[in-house]
Every structure is written in structure tokens, then in C-alpha cells.
């Protein structure tokens, strides 16, 4: 599947496109299909997220995860600081990481 990621304009937090809004959790990401270009244009103009781009993702046992290691790390946090990691499956993660 294809999903969109970007950064929250004001906070810089990594965010994922849910189909109508942005979430800090990659597990909320929605398939964008062929709409990337349009969604990116509209959302950049809306100034909620910035630096938006498309990535390939898979459904995995742990939920949706990007295919490439770079976006995997982007989704879950630096591998060398487990204390700062965002565990996508942990409902409380958003509050303790960000």
C-alpha cells in the first residue's frame, strides 16, 4: 500500500495521513492510492503538515509499517534511544513521546 507522511508544521512531529486528517501513529495511516499529488497539494496549502511525501507500506503483525528502514525509524523513533521510541501499538505512546 501507499501512505503519506509529513511533519506537523508547528511542532515538527512526524505525522501520517489518515484519509482526512493527520495522526502521530503510523497505525492510523490510510491507503492514498493514486491521490498523492492532489492530497499533498491540498494539505501543504492547508499548512497543517509540511514536507509531505509518499512511502510504501505493508500490513504487518504490528500494524501498518513502512517498507523502507528509513520510514520505519521515522515511524517508531531512533533505534538507539529506546526511551524515546514511539511504540505504534501503545495507545499512550503519543503522550509520553511527543
Amino acid at each position: 500500500m501507499k501512505i503519506l507522511t509529513g511533519n506537523d508544521l508547528k511542532t515538527g512531529d512526524v505525522v501520517w495521513w489518515t484519509g482526512e486528517s493527520w495522526s502521530r501513529h503510523v497505525s492510523d495511516a490510510a491507503e492514498v492510492g493514486d491521490n498523492s499529488v492532489d492530497v499533498i497539494a491540498i494539505e501543504e496549502a492547508a499548512r497543517r503538515a509540511t514536507a509531505i511525501y509518499e512511502v510504501a507500506a505493508d500490513h504487518t503483525a504490528g500494524g501498518i509499517l513502512p517498507v523502507h528502514i528509513k520510514e520505519k525509524i521515522r515511524a517508531t523513533g531512533p533505534t538507539v534511544r529506546p526511551d524515546l521510541k514511539l511504540a505504534p501499538a501503545d495507545p499512550a505512546a503519543g503522550s509520553w513521546v511527543i
Binding site: 508544521l9 515538527g12 531512533p78
Partner: protein
């Protein structure tokens, strides 16, 4: 140390106000990301893999305790309790919010600090020798010249949209502790017949096409430091390539034009500019120099040190360096604990270091390009106390210039340009070589790791260098041997096919073991490599 007057303060305060205005316009939609990006970059604000990242300038690597405490405060208030000291003597914070950035910069400005020109295609923070003012081998303290260049280059109206970034280093001794010849401009302050002058190198750099800068003028009268620098920058601004950002650094211009032609262009521009009276008045350099006079060193201090504690003795031998004054030493605080993240320091560690500097080093400390911290002026009698305090905070690793004193860029854990992670590789290598006896037996060995071809971790200049590459979506590591960023500058050569994460750790060990069988008496790894060449190492690695 240099202190701002009301002019310097006004410039920094104005910049904070300007950036506040720019951030407001970005959030209000008056600036697109494309338009905002160069503006935020000129204030050191990147958008990285996880968040905005802020790079704060530490001019010529010098800090006092008040500033260091502010860095700790910023780590706590605006980030997640830590910062990363970089190979360009700056500090980076990884988790900054755009909406907080103006307040953060305002806090920094209260201690005469800023993030001006720490990124973007402009003249960057000017780096220098971390032992400046304390080393026995320097001609003069290089920092006043770096400070003059800082003023000249700040908000330079002609050179804020260069083809690419521009980095300057200034040293003043024959020993090069600042990788001077790997900078866009490297300046060595020299003395000839009693006259202080500047020797200029230009066109060095790392990145995807590493080059050692050629000498372009042996003697620039110190009163013309600015007009000569301006001449180089103008030639670069006019003729540097803008069609391809990978070929836009001055090193490519010097290379493609040829050093001779480049020198002729600079000389012609210099002949023109030196008539325009653009240099600073001599009184200004004198004013700046007055800030860098020696602190009130005590005379008659003892040189003897009680070496009874064996751990202390090891640290003493490894992490202190001779000072120009009897009774004093230069201390390097390693930010490379075994298994730690090279260059990272927590807010608490920064505060401890600030306390030590205030109490024991005339309130001064330095950041080194090897991502360590230096206390430049310590009484030998205080060394044991300092070591005790450092040991308690996990900062007494006795590994300066040894195999575990690894330079590593942030790599894929933080950097959106990365191909592979650098930090975990550094951690694994450090653990493999944790045994202190073994490290010391291997002697000076500079290991440097970059997560991609941009070479922020100086891998070309490592005695052993490691470069992270992407092999079909999997992290892979190339090994380089024989680089040096010192006065004997050289560029490392790739050994052959790359290795996976564990393979590269084994490969480093194979190289060090091979060195042990080949070394002659007193030879460092680099010396042996230069004598025997690549072949025996290649055979051992790929055999």
C-alpha cells in the same frame, strides 16, 4: 573570551526578531515551505527524520559556564534533555518545535549565542583549534582572527546565497587539530620575520568528492585578511557551479578551473578589492585580541601528580595534554563512553561540565571536532578532583584518540539523508574494543563513521573510515583505510565490497589484528598503513 558589546547584542537580538516574524509569516501562510526553507536554514533549523532540528553555533568552539548551562536549559525546556555535539564544533537539538524556535533563540541570545548561519548556502560557523590559547605549539591564539571573520561573514549581503555552504577553519600551529585543509577555506596563522600573517588554503572538503585544499597564498598580511577572504568568496559566488548541487562546492570550482587559474582569479579580485578600504581597522583586531589574553595563571605551581590510583593514572596519560604553562594541563572530557552515543550529552552532564569549567578552568571550555569537550586550563593539582567528578557522571572514559573515541554522524537514527545508521555501528565497535589495555596497545587510531556520502562523520579522514550505504534497501557499510584530517592530511581508500552491520565490526577487528602483525616499533596504524599499503589488509579482509 570574547564578550559582546551593544552592537553584537543588537545584531543577534534583531535576528531573533526577524526570525520570529518569518516563523509567524510561515505559520500564517505568507511564506511557502520552499520560501521559508532557506530562511529557517540560515537560522540553523532543519526538518529532520523525526522533527525540526536546531543547530546552535559555538564560534571557534569556545564556551563559558553560563553558556553551557543555557545549552542544558534548552535541552530540558525545548528538547528531550540532551544535545549532540558535532564535528563542526556546534551543538544540535533533535526535537525542536517550530513554534518554540523564536523563544529558544531569544533565550540563547541572553548568553550571547545564536544559530545564525549554521546551515544554508552561506558562510558557516568558523571553527578553530580546540587547544587555542593553551597549546604550547601555537604561534598566537587563532581565535581573534576567527572572531574577526565571524563579524565579517555575519549577514554578509553579497555572500548569503552562495552556490553551496561554505566552511572556514582557522588554526595557528603546525599541528592541525581542526582538519583545516578539509575546509572550503583553511587559514593557518603564521609568523614570518616577526610579522603575523595568514596562509590560505582553499577548495578542501569532504562530501561525495573529498579533496584536500591546495595552498593558494602563502602570505596574506593580517591587515588584509578580510579583503583577501572577500576576493575568494566573490570568485566563488560568481563562478561556482549552480547547475548541480553536488558539484557546487568551491572544491569543484578549484578542481575544474585548476588551482593556478583559480589563484589568478582571486589575485585579480584581491588587487581590486584591497584598494576599496574594506578591511577592519587595526584597532578592531587589537580590541578583539584583548578578550583572548591569558587568564591569570598562577606561577610556581607544582608539576607532580599523585598517580596512586591506577584508573586515574590511565585517564591522566590518555586524556590530558601538555599546557603551555608549568603546573597546568589541558583536559579532554570524552563524550564517547563505551556503548554510548558519540557526541551526545545530557543536560545534567552539560551542567556538571559547566561547573568544572567554572571552578577549575577559568570558566572556559571547548568543543572539539572529534565531538569531545576540553577544559583548556586546569591546574595539575586539580586533576584528581576533576577525574573523580567525571567518573561519577560517566564522563571519564580514558580513550582520547583511541579506537573507541569514534566520530559518528547522527546517521539514519536521526538524519533524513542517511542511507544507514552510524550510531549502532559505533556502539558495537566500542563494545568490541572495550578493553582498555587492548585499546592502548593499538595506540592512536581515529575511527570515523558517516551514514551517507555527505561525510558529516569525516569518514574519508579517518585512519579507519566507515561509510554507510543502502544496498537494495538494506544497510551496508564500506570500509576505508588511510585517511587523516591532521597536518599530514590524506583521504582514505575503500578496501573493497561492503559489510553488513556485524560484518563491519569484524572487519575493523581484522584490520587492527593485521596491523598488529605488521607494525614496526612505534608505528601508529596510519604509519604502518602508509608503509605497507592496502594489499595485506585486503588479503586479510577478503583473502
Amino acid at each position: 573570551m570574547y564578550k559582546y558589546d551593544h552592537y553584537d547584542q543588537a545584531m543577534v537580538d534583531t535576528r531573533v526578531a526577524e526570525f520570529r516574524d518569518q516563523v509567524e509569516r510561515r505559520i500564517a501562510g505568507k511564506l511557502s515551505e520552499d520560501q521559508f526553507k532557506p530562511l529557517r536554514l540560515m537560522n540553523g533549523l532543519y526538518l529532520q527524520l523525526h522533527a525540526y532540528m536546531l543547530r546552535v553555533a559555538i564560534p571557534y568552539g569556545t564556551l563559558d559556564s553560563r553558556q553551557t548551562r543555557m545549552l542544558a536549559h534548552i535541552a530540558r525546556k525545548y528538547d528531550r534533555g540532551y544535545g549532540h555535539f558535532t564535528t563542526r564544533q556546534n551543538i544540535q537539538y533533535n526535537w525542536i518545535r517550530l513554534e518554540d524556535a523564536p523563544d529558544l533563540l531569544a533565550d540563547l541570545a541572553t548568553v550571547e549565542m545564536h544559530a545564525i548561519q549554521t546551515s544554508g548556502n552561506c558562510i558557516r560557523n568558523i571553527s578553530s583549534d580546540q587547544y587555542a590559547g593553551a597549546a604550547a605549539d601555537e604561534v598566537v591564539d587563532p581565535r581573534p582572527f576567527a572572531e574577526l571573520l565571524r563579524q565579517w561573514s555575519s549577514f554578509h549581503p553579497e555572500f548569503s546565497f552562495l552556490p553551496r555552504k561554505f566552511k572556514i577553519a582557522v588554526i595557528a600551529s603546525e599541528t592541525d587539530r581542526a582538519a583545516m585543509r578539509l575546509h572550503d577555506i583553511g587559514i593557518q596563522i603564521i609568523e614570518r620575520d616577526g610579522e603575523i600573517a595568514a596562509r590560505f588554503y582553499a577548495g578542501g572538503g569532504m562530501g561525495r568528492t573529498p579533496m584536500i585544499g591546495p595552498l593558494i597564498r602563502d602570505f596574506v598580511p593580517i591587515g588584509e585578511l578580510i579583503s583577501y577572504s572577500e576576493a575568494i568568496l566573490r570568485v566563488y559566488n560568481r563562478y561556482g557551479r549552480r547547475d548541480n548541487k553536488f558539484k557546487a562546492r568551491i572544491k569543484i570550482l578549484v578542481h575544474e578551473m585548476g588551482a593556478e587559474k583559480f589563484i589568478a582569479e582571486v589575485e585579480a579580485e584581491f588587487a581590486h578589492l584591497r584598494g576599496l578600504n574594506i578591511d577592519a581597522p587595526a584597532a578592531e583586531l587589537a580590541r578583539i585580541k584583548a578578550f583572548f589574553t591569558d587568564p591569570p595563571f598562577e606561577a610556581g605551581l607544582p608539576d607532580e601528580i599523585d598517580r596512586l590510583d591506577p584508573d586515574f593514572a590511565v585517564w591522566l596519560d590518555q586524556n590530558t595534554h601538555p599546557h603551555k604553562r608549568p603546573g597546568y594541563a589541558i583536559v579532554t572530557i570524552s563524550l564517547k563512553p563505551i556503548g554510548g552515543i558519540p557526541g551526545d550529552a545530557s543536560a545534567e552532564q552539560m551542567e556538571l561540565i559547566a561547573d568544572l569549567a567554572e571552578r577549575h578552568s577559568f570558566d572556559e571550555l571547548r568543543v572539539t571536532h572529534a565531538q569531545n569537550i576540553v577544559l583548556p586550563h586546569v591546574r595539575k593539582a586539580d586533576l584528581a578532583t576533576i577525574w573523580g567528578a567525571l567518573a561519577e557522571a560517566g564522563l571519564a572514559e580514558p580513550n582520547l584518540d583511541l579506537v573507541t573515541d569514534i566520530i559518528a554522524c547522527p546517521g539514519l537514527d536521526y538524519c533524513s539523508l542517511a542511507n544507514a545508521r552510524s550510531i549502532p555501528v559505533a556502539q558495537k565497535i566500542a563494545r568490541r574494543f572495550a578493553d582498555q589495555q587492548r585499546q592502548r596497545d593499538l595506540g592512536e587510531l581515529k575511527l570515523k563513521i558517516s551514514g551517507c556520502i555527505n561525510a558529516c562523520g569525516h569518514h574519508h579522514a579517518g585512519h579507519i573510515g566507515i561509510l554507510g550505504v543502502d544496498r537494495k534497501g538494506v544497510e551496508n557499510y564500506q570500509l576505508l583505510l588511510g585517511g587523516s584530517g591532521a597536518e599530514d592530511a590524506s583521504l582514505g581508500q575503500i578496501t573493497g565490497p561492503g559489510f553488513d552491520e556485524d560484518g563491519i565490526v569484524d572487519a575493523v577487528e581484522t584490520v587492527t589484528e593485521t596491523y598488529k602483525t605488521l607494525r614496526a616499533d612505534g608505528e601508529r596504524f596510519l604509519d604502518t598503513y602508509r608503509r605497507v599499503g592496502m594489499t595485506p589488509f585486503k588479503e586479510a579482509l577478503y583473502g
